[in-house]
């Protein structure tokens, strides 16, 4: 998929690009609004990651322009301005999602994937985890056909790890994804550990779950078969 990264901070733009490339996206960069405007007019993008705080352009105008020109790119706003109205305005103008800086790269990826699934109407496949099967569509985890009773938070946690298979996710990334930014101050690494512990206990009452790994000193990871 083609992604245009519109971000005036080159350091950040390059990191996002290098991450998305490793996830098999084709990336293009624009450091100014004018540059972005030209690139959107000429090329076809599936996604535009748009920083609203551009020096020469009101980022929101780019969305209007692109829609007028008939571009089918999905816009994901990434901004550090953090004003509530920006979010509302952006989504009103047809942006597909909104992410406040600083964000986790895996979170950006999962947002892009979520938009892509909606956009291209992709049905998620069932995921096999050892003897367990995760049905993403109906949010069910089964063991030999029997449902495993998970709380909503436990399921979300497992799902996020599954969607980011083979990547180590830090407790902070997991926390941010599931609890959003209730209030950053409450971030407590212990919180995730407790939920993983409960999750493991429930899984292990059916069968061992070696695919849910603890990566010492870093976080957790689900390994695919």
């Amino acid at each position: 998929m083609n992604v245009l990264i519109v971000e005036d901070e080159p350091g950040l733009a390059k990191e996002i690009a290098s991450f998305l490339k490793s996830e098999n996206f084709l990336c293009d960069l624009a450091y100014t609004g004018n540059e972005a405007s030209e690139k959107i007019a000429v090329n076809l993008y599936d996604f535009v990651l748009l920083d609203l705080g551009l020096p020469d352009y009101n980022g929101l105008d780019l969305i209007k322009e692109a829609h007028k020109a008939g571009s089918e790119a999905s816009f994901i706003i990434i901004t550090a301005r953090g004003a509530v109205e920006d979010k509302v305005k952006g989504l009103d103008l047809g942006a597909d999602d909104y992410l406040a800086k600083p964000f986790a790269l895996v979170e950006l990826l999962s947002r892009i994937n979520a938009v892509a699934r909606r956009k291209f109407n992709i049905k998620s496949q069932d995921v096999k985890l050892g003897d367990f099967v995760m049905d993403i569509q109906s949010r069910m985890l089964t063991f030999n056909g029997d449902p495993v009773d998970l709380t909503k938070k436990e399921f979300d946690l497992l799902l996020y790890l599954v969607l980011n298979r083979d990547k180590v996710l830090t407790r902070q990334q997991l926390y941010e994804h599931i609890w959003g930014n209730i209030l950053d101050d409450q971030y407590d690494s212990n919180f995730i550990d407790v939920h993983i512990k409960n999750l493991r206990r429930k899984l292990n009452s059916h069968a061992p779950s070696p695919w849910l790994e603890t990566v010492r000193g870093v976080g957790y990871k689900v390994t695919a078969e």
Binding site: E9, G11, L12, E15, I16, S18, F19, S22, G53, A80, R81, G82, A83, V84, K101, P102, F103, A104, L105, V106, T151, K153, K167, V168, T170, Q172, N181, I182, L183, D184, D185, Q186, Y187, D188, S189, N190, F191, V194, H195, K197, N198, V215, R216, G217, V218, G219
Partner: protein, 440 residues
């Protein structure tokens, strides 16, 4: 405290009463003066008439010049009399005074004019008198009528004064109402209050321009927070992405990964500190909307469900008791959620295993209280004093560094006019109570 209109009407009433009392005090004297002058004029006229008659007809029709019998005449009700007699009084007399006369064994007070005149070389004394009884009668009558009349006037003017002051103070009431109704300067109704009183118009103007200035200050503050947040969060963002990319590369050894994760944690502390400060700035400059209406009970149940796994893991009992619910309106639900979440998660962190955390909703007379009590470490007075300040670290209380969460809770509470009270005993626990204003 008295209302302005009552004050004005009372002052009017009192000043009227005072003036009337003064007037009524001097009224009898004035009436008497006026009456006496009237009588005196009459008497002088009668004297002239008598002198006219004497000069026309001579003295004989009245009195015999050779005899010593004097002339006297009075009407049947003895209201007036006239007498003429010879006199040897050396000087001349022309005066009016009050004296008593005995007529047919009845003593009556008269206003008497004494006048000496010469007719054919003989000196006569003319006396014309008028009874004072009628004057006193008139005085009493006039006083009574005036008294009733003035009393009525005072009553009527008091009522009209009251109505009128109420009417002219309507704009003031409108301005007060407008002010008490708004939650932020931007919500201030800028249409001028209808009035033809210059003072109210200028008060209204002053208030409107004050609101404009405050609104402008808020707008600037908003701009500043947006700028600061951009300036501070952009570098954090760059660093975070770089570190995350390092962590994601496959050929990184365990030790390096651990260090990168530690750096990310530190960076996260910086990020949450900046976000917390920005949040307080945004709350204080009213950048959050207050448009939600929700059940406080349900919100607390949500928080309990959210934090239960953590409490259970620590073997701390987390329970809720709801005597009553409050439907809280004109509020920002995510902020209120943060406020309680913060306090309860703090309680979970600070309560040793085997302890209890209890959340109660208690109805009180004028407010609705949510009381969160724990059996944790508690705090001494010094810790309590700095509990809500932003950076005063509370010793041994918070290993997680920034104890700014409570400062945020406080500003959220202030934003919603919720009163927080804290009671704590070191070693036995802490109790937070949140008094909600009853707005519905």
């Amino acid at each position: 405290m008295i209302r302005l209109k009552t004050k004005l009407a009372l002052f009017n009433l009192l000043s009227k009463l005072a003036f009337t009392a003064l007037f009524l005090l001097f009224l009898p004297m004035i009436i008497e003066r006026i009456n006496l002058r009237q009588v005196d004029n009459d008497l002088v006229q009668k004297r002239e008439k008598t002198i006219g008659l004497i000069s026309q007809y001579g003295i004989e029709p009245f009195i015999n010049p050779d005899s010593s019998v004097s002339f006297g005449s009075y009407n049947i009700l003895k209201e007036e009399f006239i007498s003429l007699e010879k006199t040897d009084f050396p000087g001349e007399l022309n005066e009016i005074d009050i004296s008593s006369r005995i007529l047919e064994d009845e003593e009556i007070s008269y206003r008497v004019l004494n006048y000496t005149l010469f007719v054919d070389g003989q000196k006569y004394l003319l006396e014309i008198g008028r009874s004072l009884t009628s004057i006193q009668q008139a005085k009493r009558n006039i006083s009574r009528i005036l008294f009733i009349f003035i009393g009525l006037i005072i009553l009527i003017t008091f009522i009209t004064d009251l109505q009128y002051t109420r009417l002219i103070l309507v704009p003031l009431e409108k301005i007060t109402k407008k002010l008490s109704e708004i939650s932020s300067p931007s919500k201030f109704d800028k249409t001028p209050v209808k009035t033809n009183t210059i003072d109210f118009a200028s008060l209204d103007n002053a208030l409107r321009s004050l609101m404009d200035r405050i609104g402008e200050a808020f707008r600037k503050e908003k701009e500043i927070t947006v700028d600061i947040s951009h300036e501070l969060l952009t570098p954090v963002s760059v660093l975070r992405s770089k570190l995350e990319n390092i962590l994601l590369s496959h050929h990184i050894d365990q030790e390096v990964a651990g260090k990168v994760e530690e750096s990310l944690k530190t960076l996260h502390r910086l990020q949450s500190l900046v976000n917390s400060l920005l949040m307080i700035a945004r709350i204080e400059s009213h950048q959050y909307l207050r448009e939600d209406t929700f059940s406080v009970k349900m919100l607390i149940e949500e928080i309990i469900e959210e934090l239960k796994p953590l409490a259970e893991d620590k073997e701390v009992a987390l329970t809720g008791h709801f005597q009553q619910d409050l439907i809280f309106s004109d509020a920002n639900r995510p902020l209120i959620f943060s406020m309680f979440y913060n306090i309860v998660s703090n309680a979970v962190k600070n309560t040793p295993s085997g302890g209890e955390i209890n959340i109660k909703c208690v109805p009180a007379e004028k407010c609705f209280s949510v009381v969160i009590s724990d059996t944790g470490k508690g705090m001494d007075d010094e810790q309590l004093a700095h509990l809500f300040s932003r950076f005063k670290s509370r010793k041994g209380h918070d290993e997680n560094g920034a104890g700014i969460g409570l400062a945020i809770a406080k500003s959220i509470a202030d934003f919603h006019k919720i009163k927080i009270q804290v009671k704590s005993t070191p070693g036995s626990g802490t109790e937070f109570s949140f008094d909600f204003p009853r707005n519905s």
